[in-house]
Symmetry: C2
């Protein structure tokens, strides 16, 4: 499938214009664009500008509010609950993360659970806001129910990612950002385009039987929790996804489990919703609330070098540290541009026509 | 292999006597015994009284201090670092968890990183201290390096468990307690006794090649991170184990990565240790720092019932909620007794002879 290269600035200007056209303030359009495109830069193509038209469709059906009044509705010195007022998660999550950081400055740590939000792009973008403050950052979100817990046919959880970042000294920061499934939906889409099967342990069919069909979600199938099956620890991936749901939605008052509103605007929202919108959880811990930041960062450098210097399995160049692949993508794409599939470019140019902005080319 | 049944009280009296004989105060002996036996009650036989002689051997080689001066060496309103003074992790972790709870009472959440400790038994025991206060509890620990990160031959991490517990209303609490490996060492020991192979994705051999040999650790092999291999998301299990290491040891000043002191007393401590002892991380979040506890617990009941009522895969009775199997063990064992393998009873009776206490029979 053919691809076209765009500079970050080209995609930035385009995306910001679209967010402005649906009514976002300049400030919100900027914030949302940075969050969305951080996925394209970091090589998480499924979560970046390819989803822009999806966000617009959510706005069309009034599930995204372009001018939200985002606010704290409850707080203590180290915690807050934020109501996102149906805003873009791309805007709500940075707002909440900033509060977590301010609380960490004041009392050592800050923890913010968010209700009434929408999809927030990649978790790492929000968690990484903590790094410049010499803090550990965390971000989680629940998501559309696509995942069947161990022994379940029903889809009860989203891919519910967990992200934890920690600053280092001379080494780049530690950035772990992981869906709590064996593979996220984006990886299935890649296989669909190649007409290829999935490895074992990624998906099950509508009866809960093992499958390797990359199109199985369209046939009533489900993604599997990290581990794949019980024998390989899927109960652990399921538990991790559940923890994300509890922190993001049960603490905040958002929807949870199968009631989380789906990302595709054409999929109806489940009846009898127990909460508001989707939920996130953001956290920040000041390093020097535990030990001097310089000391921590020296040991992080030592830790990272230890892993980089571990003896690799035959045929492998090196052992990676969480965050390495995404950082390499970012360096390469800032230099050489961001590749978009032709079908993504076409989709974006439909938005251009609709909103009377300049086409991408 | 033949087993013998003992009442909880029998094992409690025996274990407490042993801890007293090595010099623990009555209070510490009580605390340690409760923590250790919680594993036997909950069906985690590998982490319970079967390890008592292992703790005694650590005391013999002066790696466990029976009369530690456990203290806070740094703190902020929501954080603390605890120095365990080489005490039993079974005593140090409850001390640290109590501080996390007190801080959560004061400012909403409490987070305690611990250095200079030893193995703490099962994480769930400590995290569950939060439940009676209507708090979410968390516990993590690093451990002896037995796990090879993705693409690595070298063993760089322990089985580094993550435990998160949350109170419910009428339903029992949510208790997720998971090693960040596909399978923990205890499961290998069960297969060794049966002379059986492991499933795929549990272990690798000394060259980093896939193996199904349950004895492979004795031959230079390693446990694998949750996921098993890269194609099945082992990079995620590896990242989770790394997060536990950072929270438990990099924040506290404990040893990390391959430098964590091993549990078997005969294995030498690695040279050039970067920290003190092993590290833990304990956390508590007051529910009503986010929303009224009653409201949260009603939604937890709804969440739990949703999962229990999910349609199970053919041949399965029901979908489980994290904590269900261990709670069922506990109910059954309190009623009918705790089964110990003959070899474990013999091992304990050697302790009885040595310390002139009554034999188990």
């Amino acid at each position: 499938m053919s691809e076209q290269l765009f500079t970050y600035q080209q995609l930035f200007n385009f995306t910001r214009s679209v967010f402005q056209k649906i009514g976002c303030s300049d400030e919100h359009a900027d914030t949302a664009t940075k969050a969305l495109l951080s996925a394209d830069l970091r090589g998480i193509d499924s979560h970046g500008v390819a989803r822009l038209s999806g966000y617009v469709r959510l706005w069309e059906v009034k599930r995204v509010n372009a001018t939200p009044d985002i606010k704290v509705i409850h707080e203590t010195p180290s915690t807050a609950v934020v109501d996102g007022d149906s805003g873009l998660g791309l805007v709500v999550a940075p707002f909440a993360m900033q509060i977590a950081i301010e609380k960490a400055k004041a009392v050592g740590t800050g923890w913010v659970s968010v209700q009434n939000s929408n999809h927030f792009g990649i978790a790492a973008h929000h968690a990484m806001m903590a790094l410049e403050h010499d803090m550990i950052g965390m971000a989680m979100t629940n998501a559309s129910p696509l995942v069947a817990p161990t022994f379940s046919i029903d889809k009860m959880l989203g891919t519910n990612p967990i992200c934890v970042v920690a600053p280092a000294g001379n080494e780049p920061a530690f950035v772990a950002d992981l869906a709590t499934t064996t593979a996220a939906n984006g990886k299935l889409e890649i296989l669909q385009r190649k007409n290829a099967d999935t490895p074992s342990g990624w998906v099950q069919d509508k009866d809960g039987l093992p499958s390797t069909d990359a199109n199985i979600l369209k046939k009533g199938g489900a993604l599997l929790p990290l581990g794949g099956d019980r024998e390989h620890g899927s109960n652990k991936g399921y538990a991790l996804g559940a923890i994300v749901d509890i922190f993001s939605a049960l603490l905040s008052g958002a929807n949870y489990a199968p009631w989380v509103p789906p990302f595709p605007a054409y999929v109806p929202i489940p009846a009898q919703q127990p909460g508001k919108g989707i939920g996130h959880f953001l956290g920040a811990m000041r390093i020097d609330a535990f030990r001097p930041a310089e000391e921590f960062k020296q040991h992080m450098d030592n830790w990272i070098k230890g892993f980089r210097n571990a003896k690799p399995v035959n045929g492998r160049e090196k052992v990676l540290v969480p965050g390495d692949p995404e950082r390499e993508f970012e360096e390469e794409r800032i230099k050489n541009g961001i590749p978009l599939l032709e079908m993504v470019v076409e989709d974006l140019n439909k938005l251009a026509e609709r909103f009377f902005i300049e086409r991408l080319k």
